[in-house]
């Protein structure tokens, strides 16, 4: 499939996180060199994206789990896959919490958040299960429908009168050494590319590396704008008073001469859709990481086992469906419970922890990938040598 799908993955991640957790974490430390953090994060994001693009080009049509499995001993590969599957699962879940919280706070004011999160879980579970190419097609169209709504927000904001750009410049002038958490959190908006850890198996990587640099630069500029707009709209001090700075900033946007009074609702719906898509992508990756742990059944054997005894059939069904079982149990039992019991502040704390480990985890994954490629090349090289000496 075409590399254009990479851009969708990047954009989904950018919009979902650029509006979600990241602005609040960054704005808390707005007087501690936050723009330095954003700039550093751009560097980090660019470096990681370029490095992973180079890695993915080395392994065309392969996903990370099968790369690890081909290079490392089985138990080790299994542990690595489970660890990174958990990363993707948590990323999706955190996103889902925020979407449900925002929907119940701003859109469906009467409906309990648990109801809404169950609705989102139903959708996400169904959507995460469809085949990878089809998931990308659906992602493409959903994004194209939701995208104009968010762009509308940008346009409405940029044409707004009385933007306080001065407060942005004031923050820009406060150059300090940023907190680690800020850099790590700000670098998350570039992480959409890492979804290729799974999607690389179908997305062709026949594009020049510099495209990725351009794309990252584009994401960086968009993000700068995204980050600066709430500050310019609400002011450098007031912006930190809100739990959801972007949502409140959008609430302040008026559209002249339109049937709609405020840009708030279109933006909100666009954001919610994109954030749900982000969760779908993450859970899809999680599901397929787990699936890659099941021993691969050749189609012929599977067909014959379907005619076998009940025990065999059960075992083969279990072998195929246990990842769905794990994800469904988690989604229906753990997610609504946590969402119900934990105060939002605790969820934010968790997200901070998660953001803090983000860059090391990304580097770790990349390092493992690179090491696996080296190991694989070396072992295939020795095999080739052995074969040639044997011949």
């Amino acid at each position: 499939m075409q590399p254009r799908f990479i851009y969708y993955l990047l954009l989904v991640n950018l919009f979902a996180n650029g509006i979600g957790y990241v602005p609040r974490i960054l704005l808390e430390s707005r007087h501690h060199g936050v723009f330095v953090a954003v700039a550093l994060a751009w560097l980090v994001g660019w470096a990681i994206t370029t490095a992973s693009a180079m890695l993915f080009k080395r392994i065309p049509n392969t996903d990370m789990p099968s790369l690890w499995q081909s290079a490392f001993p089985k138990p080790l590969a299994g542990i690595i896959i489970v660890v990174f599957a958990a990363e993707w699962l948590i990323a999706g879940t955190l996103n889902l919490f925020l979407v449900a919280e925002i929907s119940s706070k701003y859109l469906n004011i009467g409906t309990p958040g648990t109801d809404i999160i169950l609705l989102f879980i139903l959708l996400t579970l169904f959507a995460a299960h469809i085949e990878t190419p089809k998931a990308l097609f659906a992602l493409e169209l959903s994004l194209i429908i939701s995208f104009p709504l968010v762009v509308l927000a940008l346009l409405a904001a940029l044409t707004q009168q009385g933007l306080l750009w001065e407060s942005v410049f004031r923050l820009l002038r406060e150059v300090r050494v940023p907190r680690w958490l800020d850099v790590s959190a700000a670098s998350y908006v570039y992480a959409g590319y890492l979804n290729l850890a799974w999607f690389n198996r179908i997305v062709t990587s026949d594009y020049p590396i510099r495209w990725m640099s351009i794309a990252t630069a584009g994401v960086g500029v968009l993000y700068m704008l995204f980050f600066a707009l709430p500050i310019a709209l609400l002011g450098s001090e007031a912006v930190a008073l809100y739990h959801y700075p972007w949502i409140n900033a959008a609430n302040a946007l008026r559209i002249e001469h339109a049937p709609l009074e405020r840009a708030f609702y279109p933006v909100l719906i666009g954001y919610l859709n994109i954030a749900v898509l982000n969760t779908i992508v993450h859970w899809h990756v999680f599901l397929n990481f787990l699936r890659s742990l099941s021993p691969k059944q050749p189609t012929q054997r599977r067909a014959s086992s379907e005619k076998g005894s009940i025990g065999e059939r059960l075992r083969s069904a279990f072998g195929r469906h246990w990842p769905s079982g794990v994800l469904s149990a988690y989604a229906f039992l753990v997610v609504p419970g946590v969402f119900r019991e934990w105060p939002m502040e605790l969820i934010y704390q968790t997200s901070r922890l998660w953001f803090a480990q983000l860059i090391p985890a990304e580097l770790f994954a990349l390092g493992l990938g690179a090491w696996a490629v080296v190991r694989r090349d070396r072992s295939s090289g020795t095999k080739r040598r052995r074969r040639s000496t044997g011949a």
């Binding site: 499939m1 075409q2 254009r4 049509n61 929907s103 859109l107 469906n108 409906t111 109801d115 809404i116 609705l119 989102f120 959708l123 169904f126 959507a127 469809i130 085949e131 990878t132 190419p133 089809k134 998931a135 097609f137 659906a138 493409e140 169209l141 959903s142 194209i144 429908i145 198996r201 179908i202 339109a258 049937p259 709609l260 009074e261 609702y265 909100l268 719906i269 919610l272 859709n273 749900v276 898509l277 779908i280 397929n288």
Partner: protein, 467 residues
Amino acid sequence: MSGTRKRRTDVSRTEHSVDAQTVRDERLIAVQKTLEGAQDVVERTLVDGDKTMELLYIKTIADEDKLERYFIRPFYEADGDIVADYLASLSIRTPYSTPEAAQDLVLNGHVLIVYRDQAALFDIRLALDVQVLPAENESTLQGPQNAFSQTLLVNLNLIRYRYRNPSLAVELAALGTKSRTNVALVYDRARVRRASLEIMRQKMRDEKVEALFATGQLERYFNPKKWTLFPTFMTTDRPDRVVYEINRGKIALIVDGTPFVFVAPGYFFDFFSAMEDLYHPAWVRTFFLTMRFLALLVTLITPGLYVALTAFNPGVFRVQLTLSIAGSRAAVPFSAFFEMLFMMIAIELLLEASVRLPKSISAAATTVGGLILGQAMTAAGLVSDVMLIVAAVVAISSFVVPINAMFYAVRIVRYPILLACTFYGLVGLGVALVALIFFLANKDSFGEPYFYLPFDKGTQEKGLGGA
């Protein structure tokens, strides 16, 4: 070589001259037995001197003019040997193999002729439905005006006439365990997707319909799932569309006796292209395509949006608009959901009635239903004015879908979206739309993904591979 043949025919002649009148050929009798009870089966024996010719055909589907011209007159006018050579030279001749095969051909308008112990079948099919009618189901303003006829051969002719390509493949077959309807599988050998073709052939082999008269039946029988909503293959009666799709690598299945041709695989977005798009300049085409998708979006989300905006988030609109909607709803005793539901059902009934009624009455029905009933409903305070406008916009937008099967599907899929909005408001609307997109993307049509944006031809041609 010719000497031996001559001797053999001489022998058969002597045999026949003895008992030509009394003993009939057993091959002919075998076929005749299977057709017992049909009074339009004609069995004739022509005798001229020592020549005898036996004929068996079905009067109602065979062309007796042709029979006269090609067989009876030459028989009386020519010598015995010349008649034998003449019969062997005819291009419409099929040699006799088994009684079953012969019976099939006779049922297809062939005549079985036994002459000098040589039995063969000749195609003298009577074609009644050969006239080509104007296309009415998908009309275009500028573009080919004719539809397919109801006869397989004429339809094949119409395709060949428009697509003079040596790689055009035509496979003939008979479907329907009882009706043995002639069908033709037409595709471009160089472009067709092998996997789809294999699936198509497999489905034709497995297909268990008894009597086949329409392509719509195939849709039902070819589909593995019983309850489906969205059409995964197209039926069209426009030759230009079929040729266009064949050129894109699709497979057309023509069924004898119906002007509608089955085209597979069908992709979601193909159902929104009108043939006219090809005949317009690029800007016009793009504009109208955009309009069509806008109409699709409007017809899908507007009912739900109305409910979500009146019941959940009245603050979305400008205050004046919100007030005027609320004001017009003030007299209405139902919730927005029921108001919308009543109106949508009323429009569905109106549409259904106007399709079933004769043309002259349906105009009156739409007037009564649309104008008078609508006016009366708002006057009685059962439905708000704004509601009427919304319902009309939704109905008009749904008419824009060019292919009928998709038009029905779109009409039905509005109800689940309306329901989602009733319970969850704008959140429900977003979720329902994303769910619809993923649901569509999950579908297959003849081994091909059903739903994707045709941004590049490469995705189609290279195949998708992976997962």
